[in-house]
């Protein structure tokens, strides 16, 4: 199946429609909530939570013997929460720093999860196949009820976001101040964290525990580059997340043997790279262009000033001088001279140049400007 065929089938084929809808909804909700994780400087917490969810999935299967998504996700939710609380316990009650706590919980829980998964695989008569889709995600296994669950959570999340928008904003920006205004900051805190954990758990089936955190970060990091408004950022992150989900799923379903997680993450990473480079205000490309332009402007001004200094001692400021003299000046270049000519500040006749009245005026203005600035 190639991409064209895929896009044709999306509208007619039931399975494809379900998968596409599912990944779009998932990308939307993780992008939205990811904005909050990024702004709270909790970028790596998502990584720890998603890895910590793995043993929960395995244990839920071992205990219930069921492969029902909802049962497994409840297991994931519980063990993700235990991981989160342990991280908090380590950082608040010992002198270990948060990075150690995150790395420790992430790797140890994941290792335990893998132990359980390999243990389950060796069990006779267990219908165990398919649990490993939670490692890297398999969007193809999404069914309608999964999409419904995602949509309900997304709807709920959207509702809470709209209701508590101003509370979320003030908590993110200035928690202490929010407290003095009488807001229960702990409640808002718990509300945001719960939704982030919920979104991570929902994404495990599609993106997998290993790469889920990128789903949270990448759309938000990309969106941040294009706007200075929190509302637009959240909206844009949701759109970018949804697009990454849809494109990633489309690409991976057209290839054999490819988990959806890595492809979605790669698409989202391309969004980030593009935003880092091409965003008009913060992007690296435009930053570089502005830098070069400023340098050119400066050289242009310096050249004009230099010329003015040569002519100002002369009775007639419009008197021609040899181009050769300009070679003594470091900032001089042919390009700079052409620029001056095109602005009609300078005219050139053969090997001689002279300033025009406009050029003299511009130079004196610049000169006075510099005096004022000092």
């Amino acid at each position: 199946m190639d991409i064209l065929e895929y896009s044709r089938l999306v509208f007619s084929d039931y399975t494809l429609r379900t998968i596409t809808l599912g990944t779009a909804v998932l990308g939307g909700v993780t992008g939205m909530l990811g904005s909050f994780a990024v702004l709270r400087k909790q970028s790596l917490l998502g990584d720890a939570i998603s890895h910590a969810a793995l043993p929960g999935i395995a244990l839920a299967f071992l205990i219930t013997g069921s492969k029902d998504t909802n049962v497994l996700l409840i297991g994931a939710l519980l063990s993700g929460l235990i991981g989160t609380f342990w991280i908090r316990g380590i950082t608040t009650k010992t002198h270990l720093k948060s990075d150690t706590a995150l790395g420790l919980v992430l790797s140890v829980f994941f290792g335990f999860g893998m132990l359980l998964l390999t243990f389950i695989q060796k069990q006779p008569n267990a219908n165990q196949a398919g649990l490993d889709k939670y490692l890297f995600g398999q969007a193809a296994t999404l069914v309608e009820s999964d999409v419904w669950l995602m949509s309900v959570v997304t709807g709920l999340c959207l509702l809470v976001l709209l209701l508590f928008w101003k509370e979320f904003k003030i908590l993110l920006f200035d928690k202490d101040y929010a407290h003095t205004l009488g807001f229960n900051t702990k409640f808002i805190d718990v509300l945001i964290t719960s939704f982030i954990v919920l979104a991570i758990v929902l994404g495990l089936q599609t993106v997998g525990v290993v790469l889920m955190s990128a789903m949270l970060l990448a759309p938000a990091a990309a969106a941040r580059q294009w706007t200075n408004s929190l509302g637009v950022m959240v909206l844009l992150a949701a759109i970018l997340g949804a697009s990454a989900g849809v494109f990633g799923t489309a690409i991976s379903s057209t290839q054999n043997n490819l988990s959806t997680g890595p492809v979605i993450v790669l698409v989202a990473s391309v969004f980030v790279l593009f935003s880092f480079i091409f965003s008009p205000k913060r992007g690296l490309l435009f930053r570089q262009i502005r830098l070069i332009k400023n340098r050119n402007d400066l050289e242009f001004q310096k050249t004009l000033t230099f010329m003015y200094h040569i002519v100002e001692d002369h009775e007639d400021v419009f008197h021609p001088h040899a181009i050769k003299i300009l070679n003594n000046f470091q900032g001089y270049s042919r390009k700079g001279l052409r620029q001056l000519i095109s602005k009609n500040y300078v005219t050139v006749n053969g090997e001689m140049w002279n300033l025009t009245p406009e050029g003299v005026e511009a130079a004196t203005n610049m000169y006075n400007q510099n005096l004022k600035d000092d």
């Binding site: 390999t118 990128a214 988990s259 997680g261 492809v263």
Partner: protein, 386 residues
């Protein structure tokens, strides 16, 4: 025990020691998550290296992949410098992208590469004894043993050679710079060692469990000692213990050795986290409770010294003004009486001479910001502690 079993345990132990040493410094330098980033992002390096060398144990592959690890660190730092995103976000963006590339490469060329996703996540410790090194037809033992052994020797040599520099730049970067040790060289040196170790250990325990072997032993050791040398030794011990215990546990369950080792590491850390003598959870909770009462006691007797009015010294004032609940007031009051700091007469509390002396000294220490001295004073004055 068969010789294969011994070899597996030996390899696992060497991996544990090789990881624990750089891990200790990563934990101390608050860079634990960097090891997570490195362990993920070396994957594309390993895959490309494998295309070239066709041998997971080739030195060239190890160097290539380790280079990817160092590049990751550089890339993360470059992104941080642009100030486009916050620091930890930079880490969180780089390694999933590189890891994804690696996973996709493996999936696309699955037929050409004898690497599979399970090996990436878990390593193949159980198979390491079968890939052996021969010289002139003589069996020199498993290749992995040689690889990780060499890495460990280099690590140890570097550790002994630069111990002083490492120690100083970890605990006092400013002093180290002023003495002429370049923090950048030590930083990238450590990153290179961590990367090489990760690649070497990757084969045995997989991408994510390398992180467990680096962080968990060091974190547990951190809770038990403040001495760097002891911390390294303890971390190595915890690593080796978990490796061997993990091996037998996996043997018993017939499940992944690497997963089992990580589980053991988690259990070791949990036990230390709960029971470490002064930095463990139980000790901390006990001390906090004691300190809460003692600080309250000092607050209370300071208050008595500050105020002579009987109204301020009435027992009920404790509840009303100082804003404590009944139980707390009672505990504090009892402790004060037991220690002969106060006498209660008709519900009016007065400082005794001893209480007065203690308070005067305490105030002195507090105002001159030497409140550490109060701890010593408590030893002299307190008959009963909180």
């Amino acid at each position: 025990m068969t010789s294969a079993q011994i070899e597996i345990q030996l390899i696992a132990s060497l991996v544990a020691v090789a990881c624990a040493i750089p891990g200790t410094f990563l934990v101390l330098r608050k860079m634990a998550m960097i090891s997570d980033a490195i362990s993920h992002s070396i994957l594309p390096g390993i895959v490309v290296g494998f295309f070239i060398t066709q041998d997971l144990n080739s030195p060239l592959l190890i160097l290539l992949a380790a280079l990817t690890g160092v590049l990751t660190v550089v890339l993360v730092e470059k992104i941080q410098q642009t100030k486009l995103v916050k620091e930890d976000t930079a880490i969180g963006l780089v390694f999933p992208a590189l890891f994804s590339i690696g996973v996709i490469m493996i999936a696309k060329y699955a037929n050409d590469v004898h690497l599979d996703i399970d090996a990436v996540l878990l390593g193949e410790l159980a198979f390491t004894p079968f890939d052996r090194l021969f010289y002139n037809g003589t069996d020199l033992g498993p290749k992995s043993l040689w690889v990780i052994g060499t890495i460990l020797l280099v690590t140890l040599a570097l550790l002994f050679a630069f111990y002083k520099e490492l120690k100083m730049s970890t605990f006092d970067a400013g002093l180290a710079t002023s003495l002429g040790f370049s923090p950048a060289i030590i930083h990238y040196g450590l990153m290179s060692v961590a990367s090489i170790t990760t690649v070497g250990a990757f084969d045995a325990v997989g991408a994510i469990l390398v992180v467990a072997l680096m962080i968990a032993p060091a974190a547990a050791a951190y809770l038990l000692t403040t001495n760097l040398t002891k911390m390294i030794v303890l971390a190595c011990f915890f690593g080796v213990f978990s490796a061997i215990a993990g091996y037998w546990f996996a043997n018993y369950l017939d499940a992944s050795i690497a997963g089992s080792i990580a589980t053991m590491l988690g259990l070791v850390f949990l036990v230390v986290y709960l029971f470490a003598p002064s930095k463990g959870l139980i000790a901390v909770l006990y001390r906090e409770r004691q300190q809460r009462i003692e600080v309250s006691l000092i607050t209370f007797i300071l208050h008595l010294k500050n105020h002579n009015e009987t109204r301020e010294r009435h027992v009920n004032h404790l509840n009303e003004h100082i804003n404590w609940q009944k139980v707390r007031s009672k505990t504090v009051l009892n402790l004060a009486v037991k220690n002969n700091f106060v006498t209660i007469d008709n519900n009016i509390v007065s400082l005794t001479e001893k209480g007065n002396e203690f308070t005067t000294k305490a105030i002195n220490y507090i105002v001159t910001n030497e409140d550490a001295q109060i701890e010593d004073m408590k030893k002299d004055f307190f008959l009963f502690r909180g």
